[in-house]
Each structure stands twice: as structure tokens, then as C-alpha cells.
Symmetry: C2
Subunit: 207 residues, 2 copies
């Protein structure tokens, strides 16, 4: 049956396992893909325009933003990142789901603009110890860098209650299965099954 | 983690397979049980008060209704049936889910009174032929009785768009799995995971 796609938003503090979960979900499910962001950051070696990012200069990014062409945008370390609205809307209309790996501010912007198309999941670490361990493993940096990341994690975690679903990530396999369960159920929401109205019309005409 | 239960509402035209699905779901899932209705109908042989129904006379049913003790009620062939609110609310608070096999009018009453605790699923037959076949199998009655049931089915079906989820019941096993997927996902809704607030508080105090 024809289906309207959905925006699947994953947020979490860094170190909670979100990136791994997103990668695993994309590999496991053919009907969902990552949104390609627009950015003013310079391409890194090997990055392909239109595939990894849509690379833009500051002026054209600003213009897109002012035209309302972006579903959400943010500035990170002086570079701008945003989500082109048209691409996402085309995907939804074609029955494809779009995955977003964004923070609470991005999720908030999407909530204001995508409404019922949005499904928001917050991933929590099972404990502070695990979070600390994962952050330390990732950053061979100085202790104050890790401390800064912990503070940022705390800020992100404090927005857990702005999400539809919450998963405590004790185990990657279990959490992946949970994400897939949520996705499977959300795809059955009445308003996403676009073929239903015609199906019911046929049923009723036969009764 | 402590969880708030949910009201799982199944509606469908008769002959769509709802009763079988409800029975199978109850057998497969320990955390959900049927709500015990209050009724003015006389007990049938073998029926136990408080287990099959809460049997009441007209006066005490009416009094319960006027006190606002019922989540929903209806009159069927001169008998009254209703759902006692206190029992259901106790179950939800204890983290147990309650299954409702009710029509669109009952679902509408519940929607007004249970709000966010409600998950509504509408079951559709795969075709008019299947519906006709199932109604004929069930009723060894005269053709006009079956015709009356078909008309009633059409009326029920026309309310399909007042539900959160819709399942076209092509196959009982598949539909049962779908119901269980919906239930699993809905149990993960943020506001049902009552332990999360305390869990997050502990996480943040450690950061």
C-alpha cells in the first residue's frame, strides 16, 4: 500500500551510541536513508558534493535559509549546516523515510516545520560511567576537553523529555531491534498509509 | 523500568477477525488483559460475577454512570454495558495494559476520557468477499440478517479514520505480529516510562 515516509530523528549526548545505531539501522533497512545536509564547510578529501553534503558558500547558504528552503540549520565551529526541505519532502512523498542524526535544537526546529511527519527518539547512555568511558575512548585529548564534552552531554540529556520515544542503550543489538520496532509501528500509523482511503472506498462500495 | 500501562482499543466491523486477534493477543502477552465490563444483562450459565462481567441492575448501573464511574458505556439490545473507570486506572498505574474490544462509539468516549493513555487500532477486512464469507459462516441466519450485519459493518468501517493505526487483516498470524509490534513500540513512548525522570536525574547528577 502506498505510504507516506517519515522523518526519523535520533538525538543523544555524544558517547551514547547514536552514530553506531544510525549506521546499523541504515544498513538493516532499505526504506530509510540519511538526509544529505547543506554545509558551508570545505569538502574533505574523498567527500562528494550531493552525496556526502551539498557544499555551498556562505552567501548561497544564507540565501537558502532566508528563502525558507531549510527545514533546520545550525552553526558548528563557524560552519553552517542545514537540511534542504525540498529533498526531504520529495522522499516522504515517495514513501521513503529519512534519518536525522541531530541535536535537540535541530529536533526542535524540525518539530516546528514537519509536525506529524516526525518521529523523535532520544538515546540515553545506561550510566555515567559508560558515557565517560566512551568519551575517553574517543578522545585521546586532554582531561579538560573530555570535561567539556561531559558538560555538553549534560545539556543535551536535559532535553530528553522533548522526544516521542526514549531508549536506554544498554546493548547495541537490543537497541537496534527497538529502533526497528518503533519504525515498523510508526509506518502503520493511519495517516501514513496513503492507500487506505481508496481501499476503504472500494470496500464500502461493495457493501 | 516502571511503566504506565495503556488502553489498547481494537475496533472493526464484525467479521474482520477482531475477536480472534484479541484472544490470540491476550494469550501471547502477559502484560495485557481484558477489561471487565459492568452490565445489566443477566448472567449466562457459567459466567462469574467480577470475572466475566460485573453484573448490576438498571438502577445501580445508572447511578454508576451518573457518578462518572464509567469510562464508556453503551446499550445493546436493551442491555447496558460499561467500563468501570477505577479498575482501568488502577491497572494503568500498576503498569498493566488493558484491552478493549469496542465499536467506534465506545472508542470515541474513551478518547474523550483517557487521552494520552489510549492507543486505537482499527482492523479492516481484506475484501468485501472475505467479510461476507465470515459473516455467513458465523450466522446460519436468514439472508436479511446477514444483510443487516453488512450494513452495520459499513457504518463501522466508515469510522476507520478516527484511529491511530489501521491493520488490513489479510492473515491472522501476520496481523497478530503487527499488533504486538504496535504494542511494543507504544510501551516505549517517553511518557509511559515512568522511571525515566529519576534515571535522568541520576545521570545528570553524575555529570
Amino acid at each position: 500500500m502506498t505510504r507516506r515516509g517519515l522523518l526519523f530523528v535520533l538525538s543523544s549526548p555524544s558517547g551514547a551510541g547514536k552514530t553506531t545505531l544510525a549506521r546499523r539501522l541504515l544498513a538493516a533497512d532499505d526504506a530509510i536513508s540519511m538526509s544529505v545536509s547543506m554545509t558551508t564547510r570545505k569538502p574533505r578529501p574523498g567527500e562528494v558534493d550531493g552525496l556526502d553534503y551539498h557544499f555551498h558558500d556562505q552567501a548561497s547558504f544564507k540565501a537558502a535559509c532566508e528563502r525558507g528552503d531549510l527545514l533546520e540549520w545550525a552553526e558548528v565551529f563557524g560552519n553552517h549546516y542545514g537540511t534542504p526541505k525540498a529533498e526531504v519532502m520529495d522522499a516522504l512523498a515517495a514513501g521513503r523515510d529519512v534519518l536525522f542524526d541531530i541535536d535537540w535544537q535541530g529536533a526542535k526546529q524540525l518539530s516546528a516545520r514537519a509536525g506529524q511527519d516526525l518521529v523523535r527518539v532520544f538515546i540515553l547512555p545506561p550510566s555515567v560511567a559508560t558515557l565517560e568511558q566512551r568519551l575517553n575512548k574517543r578522545n585521546q585529548d586532554a582531561a579538560d576537553v573530555v570535561a567539556g564534552r561531559m558538560a555538553q552531554s549534560a545539556s543535551e540529556i536535559s532535553h530528553w523529555d522533548e522526544y516521542d520515544y526514549v531508549i536506554v542503550n544498554h546493548d547495541i543489538e537490543e537497541s537496534l531491534a527497538t529502533l526497528r520496532t518503533i519504525l515498523a509501528a510508526e509506518r502503520l500509523k493511519r495517516w501514513r498509509q496513503l492507500g487506505l482511503a481508496a481501499f476503504v472506498r472500494d470496500l464500502l462500495s461493495g457493501l
